[in-house]
Amino acid sequence: MAGEIGHFALILALMLALTQSVVPMIGASRNDPALMAAGRAAATLQALFVLTAFAALAFAFVRTDFSLDVVAQHTHSTQPLIYRFAGTWGNHEGSMLLWVLILSVFGAAIALFGDNLRATFQARVLSIQGMIGTAFIVFLLFTSNPFARLSPAPIDGAELNPLLQDPGLVIHPPLLYLGYVGFSVAFAFAVAALIEGRVDAAWARWVRPWVLAAWTCLTAGIALGSFWAYYELGWGGWWFWDPVENASLMPWLMGTALLHSALVLERRGALVSWTILLGILTFSLSLIGTFLVRSGILTSVHSFAVDPRRGIFILAIIIGSTGAALALFAWRAPAMKSGALFSGVSREAGLTLNNLFLMAATAVVFLGTFYPVIMEAVSTDKISVGPPYYALTFVPIMAPLLVLVVFGPMLTWKRDALADVVARLRGPLIVTVIAFVAAVAVFGRTNVLAAAGMALAVWLVVGAGAVLIRRWRLGGGFVRSVRTTPTSTYGLVLAHAGLGVLVAGISAMTAWQSSKIVVMHPGQTLTIGREDVRLMSIREATGPNYEALIARFNFTRDGVTRPMTSERRFYPASRSQTTEAGIEKRVLGNIYVAVGEPDKTGGIVVRLYDHPLVGWIWGGAVLMALGGCASLADRRFRVGAAKAAAIPAGRLVPA
């Protein structure tokens, strides 16, 4: 029953999406309020029906309705409730439905909360949202139907991959999709602007909250994915440059560029074409990421079951959206007037450089990810691109950018003098140099790169603080300055400082992690870092859908002892194994223990790791996401730009 309701709701949603694609576009060109209102209604209704379809699927999963093929393949009667629910999106069809749900909800949000937008513009944006939604619902219904029936229904299903039976599955995909799909709004805004033939400061102000929201969610989603891999996969890795990880990093990098480019557009009316292009490219990278995961073009830890037919369909969607948008860009963008002039040393120039570096970094990740695909078309030799490549190419591009980050907020608009900026940054410069020298002294000359990384981290954090200090000095007192500082300035400070914390974590982990792998017997003690680890016992246990071998340890440091366990779990339904690591979390680093196989003498393989500052990687990312939230909370965005008066085409609204 739930399957039928869901299926029907999805078909209805398709019709509404079609309506939403066509009607408001006509309404905008004819300036017909009724048609434009119909577009808004269609968007809202579409979201409701997709939500119904999604709820139906979730219901089927929770109730283990094995008459649905996708439920039978991804859930089991012994699976805990929360993972039956989250299993709704732990597969290709369901996750695609989640994608469509978020797309339609964003469309409804534009319809319901976009009162500050010019009506014709809002209508065009909704139309483009609708077109994307139509394409994906057709994709769902014809190649990836979540409501496909399995007859006869099996008695029990195949289990959800045990690696996915984790709280991470509940939060990570939804956050990621909020990010990926959130950028579709910027895409729609960009294409609508190209159709209208003009972009002004109001456009930049309208688009910013949507980009911020998507960016914040994507930041949190990627951080969560990294953290999940760290504790779940059993060897303490946090980033593998896996194609699917890259597929999330690329929209993030481009989205960061978009965010900052829109800033210049809003403030000074410059970087018009560049910002529009970034708006198109960010979502296009989300689409290409979808293509990557679901088409079987590359193998990856994250691949869903591959089907080239789906790949062809998604490729067609990409051609229709990105291709059309870029063609429109080639045709219309040259005519769009860009205004303000600025000097080679100015905040605009700094943000232009920011764009350059981020786009180059994105291009490098793209090249590394897709080079094997390109190469197999031109050569018989097959190569693969792994982490060493990115270490040699991505890092050298990001490093200068990270230095620039501190200069950016300190530069004045339009024109500035290099000497003055340096003078403003005297404090951070001195602190950073001291930090670098201290790091080299403490950690030795063999670790110069790591010391540079730590110095860079200090530079970023102190530089962020310098923004606030400068405001206090200019603003006539600490208290007054705190009161008058816009929330988005705190957002900037949090985000840039968070970046510094992230860099510190990465530097420390890359340079100073260590491991020991031995067979241990109960009663033995091993030391790693400053931690003494004693294996106390090895016991078996049974979980709801698994059997486990549990090793109990005592971790002792500075006279304080704490218990820790690590498990090796066997899931009979899918005949697979996982390792549950025991992690001692400290501010300055983790001690990570993962057990392996028992041997025949009553011992067990134990892998011990010292992970310095690893928590700072995700802590930094969380700070960045908080910065995004703070910027979003800025009253000026919620009050919104005043409704733009009729402006003759081609004239700019000066910032």
């Binding site: 830890v301 605009e348 786009m359 097959k382 691109v385 078996e540 071998l549 028992p598």
Partner: protein, 150 residues
Amino acid sequence: MRGVAALVALLLAVPAFAVLPAEQLRDPALETRARAISAGIRCVVCQNQSIDDSDAPLAHDLRVIVRERLTAGATDSQAVQYLVDRYGSYVLLKPPLEPATMALWFAPLGFVGLGAVGVVLYLRRRVAGAAPPLSASDAAAADALLEDRI
């Protein structure tokens, strides 16, 4: 007790865990080299893991071979070449520098270079006309106003 034995048997029956203690060489210098080499060799039957990290039986075999080669006196590059001779360049996590991968290795430099040229050209078109510099107090007041509008 029988339960533990059964579980042990079950666990032993499934593929070995990545780098086992039994595989490790006694000579710490050789072992360090072996670990470093293994970290750069792709596990060809896994999805994006090195043989150092992977649980797969083939990864175990290749780890053992790397250690055998090193113990037999091979240099790091000879040990790596032994595997490349059998499995191809695909097995290297760091793509080799050869004609087909020139684009891969030099394009990043190209991106930055092209981008820099583009930025310079763009900035030159945007350079502001000569405006008289502000006095210090005016500059501070302007700063304060502008800062307010971030």
